[in-house]
Symmetry: C2
DNA sequence: ACCTGAACACCGTTCAAGT
DNA sequence: ACCTGAACACCGTTCAAGT
């Protein structure tokens, strides 16, 4: 069953409008999203039955990019260097995307973590497996452990980011490394 | 200016009602809090002008207890043992309190972290200073670093808590320790 | 001074009518 | 099939009247 072209276009308009509005202070009002997209309230509701569905659509794309990056880094670098670089990119994504998005909806904080068994979890598992095979990583941590430990990224403030994040990532990587 | 006794009593009733309701699934409805407390809507609003003020009142007490604990542990144990034990208690508090409370209000996630320069930050600084003096801790991390790294605690699920948290705390402490 | 609770305002959700 | 937007419902906030 192919999607009608106007439906597909409207879906894109909604996501675009939400992407713009979510960076603004205050809540993300669904009525404002519909208005900015130039659509009726009911149309928004047809595409995204809850606010959570809409917010999830916003960050799904970012997760796909992180997954693709893990594959590429593993092909180009040693396991520990790949993990180190991937963390740095994760940090950059978290700063811009997850922080802003999740500030809108408390339940999303929960769901990003719960989603780990998906593609993101597999990508991270690949990184960890390579590192363990090399003997540089603890052998008792899994991908969910690492996702959990990375939550701090969502709470670092803009103005302290540059000074604090490299050190925090170093502490975390140190803790994951075998002595 | 002393508080009128009925006002003090009502304030306590509100906090008590909110404490009970916040553990239930779904949002914390202010109207439900007023109803359970047996008070009018306006009375709730007089005491707590925003939902955030109410939620903050709920976890302020918990923070006080953590602060007192840090002092006591430093008097009774070696610096690294004190830090280790304090982390374990922090984990227990985070599990029961912060996770439930912050799930209700996204902005609270933000504010718990921003509050670090307060009493909690001082208590943690005392722990870190003692550890550094002993030469067991990295000398470039501060109390806010540790608070940020502890955020994972709020995202561990009930059923995985026992298996995962000890390992995650070990990774974190390992990262904070000098090699 | 503080409390009450009905009235108001805001915004998410629904649905009858239109294309 | 999908879209529109007015109507509805829910809940946070306010305020005139009461104690």
């Amino acid at each position: 069953m192919a999607e009608r072209s106007d439906a597909a276009r409207n879906r894109a308009l909604i996501i675009e409008a939400a992407r713009e509005l979510i960076t603004e202070p205050g809540e993300l009002k669904l009525s404002a999203v519909a208005k900015r997209a130039g659509l009726g309230q009911g149309t928004l509701y047809r595409h995204f039955a809850t606010r959570e569905e809409l917010v999830r659509a916003l960050y799904d794309r970012e997760i796909d990019e992180l997954v693709a990056l893990a594959d590429r880094l593993l092909g180009e670098h040693s396991p520990d260097e790949a993990l180190r670089r991937w963390f740095t990119h994760l940090a950059a994504y978290a700063r811009v995307k997850f922080g802003v998005i999740a500030a809108v909806e408390a339940s999303v904080w929960h769901d990003i973590g719960a989603q780990t068994p998906g593609k993101l979890g597999e990508a991270l598992t690949a990184l960890l497996t390579a590192g363990r095979a090399d003997g540089v990583l603890r052998d008792d941590v899994d991908s969910r452990d690492v996702i959990l430990l990375s939550w701090f990224l969502a709470h670092v403030e803009e103005e302290e980011w540059a000074e604090r994040t490299p050190r925090l990532l170093a502490v975390l990587l140190d803790g994951l490394t075998t002595r």
